[in-house]
């Protein structure tokens, strides 16, 4: 195929080879974010003086995406690279001190009926908000629930199935066994593997264009659609505060090379229940998250246990402006603080999620801590 055959937003190229032995779509996308924040002063008042504002401007995400099939449409691949300094995460001795460029690098083999085997590094079937691509978000960014509870990405294998019961009841089952240390680790596994199971129920059938994993009802579902999902994750002898993510609980021995470090470990379990509902431009997404651990006290950075709620809802007007709101609550055990965040957002979808401008205003309150206001403005271009 020639380059430039596609309309904007459909890939720089998206081609099947002449002999049908492979295909590739090349995507490129960029998010540019400016934000202004303000905290309450010692009198617990917002003081709107210029010097009190904290501003932040950055290339929030910059991605190169390759996907398609090899040999047969039954063997698909997906590769996504992140290039911005925000994407590459923090280098550590466990990543060869290198920038973590690779986000996804996964093969998906549909080996029997609806059964797919995935091998490689990609997102785990965790909370819905996490699995929704950062290209398809309803507000400027994901919620605090996601920040604190996400299973994020991992390396290993996933088995996926789906089937329809009766006329339209769609069921999906996913099981993953992965290394449990998060993405781009070069020094091998610590402790045991990580096991993730997820089931999804869509009582009224599939959403248009996979809308159960996209923010906002851009397709204006003509009949109501609902998806309910539940995930249970067990990280056997995890080494980090949030299972595969966050700070290391503790190092018992860091005298050797990074491969030989000895970690403090405990089993960590995470549960999610979530839903997505869409109809006629109206959308609602809810999530509940819960994490516990075998030993919640060991280490200088003990596992963060507790629960969180998140509810987002929006309405898309005919002119492709959307107003959306979100409420998030985080309750970490032992920390004694409840965090609450209220967000109000306005988006203009110029070419759907491919070219859009989004802004939102968040008010955050934490027990006996300064309150915060944050205004964000982001635009996205997605070839």
């Amino acid at each position: 195929q020639e380059i430039g055959k596609n309309t904007f937003g459909k890939g720089i190229f998206n081609t099947i080879s002449k002999d049908s032995t492979w295909s590739m779509k090349l995507g490129l996308r960029m998010q540019y974010l400016t934000s202004v924040g303000l905290e309450t002063d010692i009198n617990n008042q917002f003081n709107f003086t210029q010097n009190n504002f904290k501003t932040d401007t950055k290339v929030r995400r910059y991605r190169l995406k390759f996907d398609g099939f090899v040999l047969s449409p039954k063997v698909k691949y997906k590769i996504e690279l992140g290039m911005s300094n925000n994407d590459v995460g923090s280098a550590s001795v466990y990543t060869k001190s290198g920038s973590k460029l690779i986000l996804d690098a996964v093969l998906k083999w549909n080996f029997y009926k609806n059964l797919e085997l995935w091998a490689g590094q990609t997102k785990l079937p965790g909370n819905r908000e996490r699995v929704i691509s950062s290209a398809n978000m309803q507000l400027v960014d994901r919620s605090l629930l996601n920040k604190e509870f996400t299973l994020d990405r991992d390396m290993g294998f996933q088995l996926r199935n789906n089937h329809i019961i009766g006329k339209q009841l769609l069921i999906r089952e996913i099981f993953a066994i992965t290394q449990g240390e998060g993405r781009n680790i070069t020094t091998g596994n610590v402790g045991g593997q990580q096991y993730t199971s997820r089931i999804e129920v869509l009582p009224f059938g599939a959403f248009i264009s996979k809308g159960d994993y996209k923010g906002s009802d851009l397709k204006r579902e003509p009949i109501p659609k609902l998806a309910i999902g539940a995930t249970y994750n067990h990280n056997d002898r995890a080494s980090r505060q949030r299972g595969s993510q966050g700070s290391i609980i503790d190092l018992i021995d860091d005298s050797g090379s990074a491969e030989d470090h000895v970690f403090t470990m405990t089993d960590v379990n995470t549960t999610f229940v979530d839903f997505m509902y869409k109809h006629n431009g109206y959308s609602a997404m809810g999530e509940f998250a819960y994490r516990n651990a075998d030993d919640t006290t060991i280490g200088t950075n003990p596992v963060k246990t507790g629960k969180a709620y998140n509810l987002a809802t929006g309405y898309l007007f005919n002119n492709n402006y959307e107003i959306a709101t979100r409420y998030t609550q985080i309750d970490y055990k032992g920390i004694g603080n409840t965090t609450e965040q209220y967000t109000l957002g306005v988006s203009k979808y110029i070419v759907g999620h491919k070219l859009k401008v989004q802004t939102d205003l968040s008010y955050t309150t934490v027990d006996s801590m300064p309150e915060g206001l944050q205004l964000r403005l982001q635009f996205e271009v997605h070839f």
Copy 2:
């Protein structure tokens, strides 16, 4: 468009989509540099013994460039990634310890007549030599003036205008408001914003092919062309030795996360006056730079204030060989040394700036310091 339709140097592809909703040019370029240096010995003599030479070989620059428009030719974008270890700059806690791959990531919206709004990360309208792409240089690399005084890149907004007065007097006005911390910062703004204003006057009209921002008169301007520019930059409460660039002046508190560091700050102002003249293969470029600060004494690395001159001139022979010379002088206040550098260069433009071999010899003298000689050889390939 098919790949390979263009002749060498015009992009790997350069295409407008069939429905004219977007366009993209993909460029790739590489510079390979070898240099040999020698310093005077304790008797202030150059001792041309083999072991005294210091050699250095490297991939100086390796870039991937995407530019074009989205939706309308009035909305342009430019993305440039740097991949060599020289390009990626030094990782720090303010860049998530990651390689700084993104050089430019900017949208340019021509929203009214000649008015353009730029948003994103790109070069500031500072000294002319800096804005000239490193692909289009007359000598092997930029001068010491640029090294010490450049405003480099920043994140934020620029407003650009241009108009013609009378028959051919071209005036350009640029105003930028940016974060003031330099490129790829992930930890937000420190102090105030950075404000940059520039005016350019081209009394004899525009140069052929934007030649006022390209080294050497490759187009052999048939009538004399002149561009004069002046920039004033104000970095409100800057935190680094050269405004947005260089070492941190001082950290008052580095106990928290990088976002919470407290910096020593002072206002920094930089002024540039520069010109470019071209006629019939002859070109001359001159720059004057001046930096001062509100408080020139605070911190362990106080702001570097002072002034600098730079004058380069070259003549392009009919066989596309060029001989060029450059004189640069740096006077930093309080340091008590004047640096002077004389450079003589020879270039062969095989396919203009797209395929060229350049060599230059520099003699550097600093008051009461060893003198230096440096011979450099560089070739560039630019698809």
Copy 3:
């Protein structure tokens, strides 16, 4: 050329421009590796209990490759970028603390008859196994000989020649003069240059499709083919344990910037003799390596001197399954241990080296140290 004209494994595109001024082939490849290891316990027994296994899963290699010619087919280029955390190597002050993305960046100019001048960064003409691309290996990865003795990549110049004597005796001569510090160094040369000479003799003529530098006899050479090579390398005043590779021998002065560090240095010499034989699906490769140094005692990390053998052999069945074995022995002087490794591998070449699954089992024994078993599984996709 259009994208997708080629069959799988022949490049995403591979095109000559319409006016024949340049060409480019774009390749993309990924290796995904899972391994399980076990060491003997204090009773020198393998205890096959689950918790004793050490597992490791990673994107082993992720590469983007550009090659072709500029201006004339006599001026070729090759650029290869590595993107996985395993590829980018360890950042250091000598690489601007940046990820080492660039593997190859080299121009190859065929300036006279069979004489080629190479300039840039690429592999040195060292041991055969190293020069075989990691895309074309017979087993999951290279041997321990390569790990301990490779000359790897360097920056500088290579001169290459080849000629045929008589009917089919093919001789190749290569001479390289390079910086001697390894790839992606930004701080210039330490000590003297590195000199590498190699001669190759192919008594029965060239292999099909450059098979003397590819693992496995995928072309099933109809008549026996043999290649014998010998390399001598001299690293004048080297600063690292393995010449241009490995830990720094010692720093005499690290007080200044990285460019000004003063290193402990000694001359390091490395010799290789190797061969490749192929016939009818059967292949055998052997290597001998020897390293010595002028001073083998200086520094906290003295130069590792000694010798190593490596012999690999395999047979490719008609169904494109291959069974291969390898024996490697490393004898480092002064360390008093001999390392021996036995490897047995099975590969399925689905589309040659472009799409393959490989597994191997290695048994490693080191004098008076625990013995090790390692099972590896790797798949490769190469567009």
